[in-house]
């Protein structure tokens, strides 16, 4: 195998690939990239996998001799980053990948490429084409609400439902829910409902840009393939039934606060400086006169902020939230003002964009913390 490529071209194509390489694994081969060079088409193919998610990136290079090699991903990334902006030459000799760039030479030992797991074939025959920017928006509006608790695996992925006229993504960890729905017209007759692991979706979120308008999706029984530009992502599907989250969404939250999103977020961030590091609790004392935000930490002191520039209709209310969750929701609110609909102090609160869009609807739910 022998090829050469400009450092910037190589780096831009594989920059996010390292996120897929598992940091801890009992299979050492997975810490490698599989590099395949196609002499006829002058094409390079880099693959990384953690067995659950496989990402393949294909791009042009000057290939003078085809072949295949498995190379330690961390070493290769570090070497490429350290090299000057110039053309890099790669050559496989026996079990060594020789890398040459201007005055630098590296000899990198290769792993046995035949041990690399089998890569699924890219199949574009029955794909559904989706608007890439809206797909990215759906991921960005929901991924922050997934759980990291491996005990509840269905909460570690994003629930995705596609029908002919709408798409829905929902994520929850039992303490918050993010729901994002778009109206579209997809030539599909069957309803698709799956729970997709976040890792693969976050990879797509990173690589989706203005250059390509479409993400192609092929949903199989236990796997989904996403094809976007140079990238093909294969991800497994999380098995299990996503809970009927709509039952948790209250219908009669009549205490409504409308407030500038940025001033609320900044105030909460300031007050949270003295919030408990165990509970992240910030208290909101809301009445028609003002919103008082407060945190207290017996060891360090307390913080208060009063905001009068807001509109509140409803009963006076004292309610507490985990400020990290609270600000994570404010971070995805797009309109200038956020509308927060609350019930009682122990009932979930709902967050909306004040200005509605005709392309999507988004709503977010947050459970309050116990007051005492």
């Amino acid at each position: 195998m022998k090829f050469s490529i400009a450092k910037s071209d190589l780096q831009s194509n594989i920059q996010y690939l390292y996120n897929i390489v598992p940091s801890k694994n009992t299979m050492p081969i997975l810490t490698n990239y599989l590099i395949e060079a196609d002499e006829q088409n002058n094409l390079l193919k880099f693959t990384a996998t953690d067995l659950e998610i496989t990402v393949v990136v294909e791009f042009q290079a000057h290939v003078t001799e085809g072949g295949k090699a498995a190379v330690l991903a961390r070493n290769l990334n570090e070497i490429i980053s350290s090299l000057p902006e110039a053309n890099i030459q790669f050559l496989i000799q026996e079990d060594t990948l020789k890398i040459h760039c201007e005055r630098s030479d590296f000899n990198l030992l290769c792993a046995e490429s035949s041990q690399f797991p089998l890569i699924p074939q890219k199949d574009l025959s029955n794909v559904i084409d989706l608007d890439a920017q809206m797909f990215k928006k759906m991921i960005e509006n929901t991924h922050f609400a997934v759980s990291s608790e491996i005990n509840r695996p269905i909460f570690t992925g994003i629930y995705w439902k596609i029908s002919a006229d709408e798409q829905l993504m929902v994520a929850t960890d039992g303490k918050k829910i993010a729901e994002f729905k778009i109206i579209n017209h997809i030539p599909t007759t069957e309803l698709v409902e799956q729970i997709i692991p976040t890792k693969g979706l976050l990879f797509l979120d990173k690589v989706i840009n203005e250059d390509n308008k479409t993400v192609s999706v092929l949903i199989e029984s236990n796997r989904v393939m996403f094809a976007y530009g140079n990238y093909t992502v294969f991800t497994h599907i999380i098995e299990g039934k996503f809970p009927d989250y709509s039952k948790a969404i209250p219908a009669n939250n009549n205490n409504v606060l409308v407030i500038n999103k940025n001033s609320l977020r900044d105030a909460v961030k300031r007050v949270s400086l003295l919030a408990s590091e165990d509970t992240f609790k910030v208290k909101f004392d809301i009445s028609e006169e003002a919103l008082l935000i407060n945190s207290a930490n017996r060891e360090e002191g307390e913080a208060n902020e009063r905001i009068e520039d807001c509109i509140y209709t409803g009963e006076p209310l004292v309610i507490a939230f985990n400020y990290r969750y609270f600000t994570s929701i404010l971070a995805v609110i797009e309109s200038e003002e956020v509308e927060i609909r609350m019930g009682k102090a122990n009932e979930p609160a709902l967050f909306f964009n004040k200005e509605k869009s005709d392309k999507f609807t988004a709503r977010f739910l947050l459970m309050p913390l116990r007051l005492s």
């Binding site: 608790e149 491996i150 005990n151 039992g174 303490k175 165990d278 459970m367 116990r370």
Partner: protein
């Protein structure tokens, strides 16, 4: 940081030995030693035994001759009795102030701010006499403007027989002289390492430590050391309970009285320790999300050795005993290997948080909001009223061959009908 506080420290004198004496008057003035789990070493001594030059931690076999010569009375540790007597003392203390912090099985801090108009020394005697009369236990009472000085006052009360068990350092004009007479190693919060450091740097007595430069103390003994020094100067920095960090872990484990081979016996022992650990969790109004189980053979014996541990997380934080029993048994099944003589099995609960901080969950009822809490409250209340383990889980077995050695155990005078002391007239 606050000023003008008044604290009292009430400490039971030679608590374990005193509990044994309450129900056996024959033990009066006799040297008494209480043994560790499995009757190995002496862990608690009466004043008379201390005067014979015997130290805490002495293996009982080393003093066989002295036991006979001095009529030393040796007992297995009777934690059921000590726990119940402790609860009685603490209950009495609540009659004297609502602001009470139980610091250990035989010590409690009392906040006496609202009583500064009274003669606090007389109040101390009232506390001491009430406890003596109602439980038969002797206590010492130290009163001071900070918790650290209250501890020192308690030490003075205990060591100086003329004071008759009560000492109020707040009313003493000669406080400096008293502090100058006490080694820094006796200060609350100064461990052996810090005591050595202070001695090396010329701070030998408590007065010298109280006058030590703040900057030096903060650098060498951190903020915690500085708080101690400020407390010695009479500036209260440690509120009631504030100094006690919530438990990060709860461990329950004991060595077996005899080597255990069978998985069934290990299961029973593990259940027993697990039940106790979760009880402790509830006593502190906490919930836990993680459980670890470990087991080991006796590394001091020339026989095949094996030790292992594993842990698992609960879906949601809990203090419901069956949640932990199920998890513990699953873990044990995974790490148990047949053919070894096991010496110990244990359980550790971690990722602990106070119940008030338990976040509600949208899809599963939290421990606080469903019947699990009601069941546990009911169980704890029955066991508290009628006696420890009056109701327990069948999984701890009946034979309990694995239980620790306690050959010199006194009766459970206060918690078992069968063990009630008989009075003959």
């Amino acid at each position: 940081m606050k000023k003008s506080e008044i604290f009292a420290l009430v400490d039971c004198n030679n608590f374990y030995a005193a509990c044994e004496r309450v129900f056996n008057p024959e033990l009066r003035d006799k040297p008494i030693g209480i043994l560790s789990n499995n009757d190995g070493i002496i862990v608690a001594l009466s004043e008379e035994l201390k005067q014979l030059g015997i130290k805490r931690g002495t293996p009982v076999f080393e003093i066989r001759k002295q036991i006979a010569r001095h009529d030393i009375r040796i007992f297995s540790s009777n934690y059921t009795l000590y726990g119940d007597m402790s609860a009685r003392v603490m209950k009495i203390l609540t009659f004297f102030t609502p602001d009470l912090e139980i610091y250990s099985i035989d010590e409690a801090f009392l906040h006496l701010n609202g009583l500064r108009h009274l003669d606090l020394t007389a109040y101390g005697y009232k506390i001491r006499n009430s406890i003596r009369k109602w439980t038969g236990l002797p206590v010492s009472v130290g009163i001071g403007p900070t918790k650290t000085l209250a501890k020192i006052a308690n030490r003075v009360a205990k060591k100086n027989g003329k004071l008759d068990g009560v000492f109020d350092i707040t009313v003493r004009p000669d406080r400096d002289r008293i502090l100058a007479g006490i080694d820094v190693k006796h200060v609350w919060g100064v461990g052996p390492q810090y005591a050595n450091l202070l001695h090396r740097n010329g701070f030998h007595n408590v007065l010298q430590l109280a006058e030590a430069p703040q900057k030096w103390i903060k650098k060498k003994m951190t903020l915690v050391g500085l708080r101690t020094v400020l407390e010695l100067r009479g500036i209260s920095c440690i509120d009631l309970e504030q100094d006690i960090d919530p438990k990060k872990e709860i461990v329950s484990s004991k060595s077996f009285g005899i080597p255990v081979l069978s998985l069934q016996d290990l299961r029973e022992a593990l259940n027993s320790y697990c039940i106790r650990a979760v009880e402790k969790l509830r006593e502190e109004k906490q919930v836990a999300s993680q459980i670890m189980v470990y087991l080991t053979t006796n590394r001091f014996k020339e026989e095949p050795q094996y030790a292992n541990f594993a842990s698992c997380r609960l879906p949601l934080p809990s203090a419901y005993t069956p949640d932990f029993l199920r998890a513990a048994q699953t873990i044990l099944s995974g790490i148990y290997r047949p053919g070894y003589k096991y010496k110990k099995v244990g359980v550790m609960l971690s990722d602990i948080t106070h119940q008030s901080n338990l976040p509600p969950d949208l899809f599963a009822p939290s421990y606080l909001d469903d019947r699990r809490k009601k069941i546990m409250d009911c169980l704890d209340s029955i066991n508290h009223r009628i006696g420890a383990n009056c109701i327990t889980y069948a999984g701890i077995g009946k034979a309990r061959n694995w239980q620790m050695k306690r050959e010199m155990l006194t009766p459970r005078y206060t918690t078992s009908w069968d063990d009630l002391p008989l009075v003959k007239a």
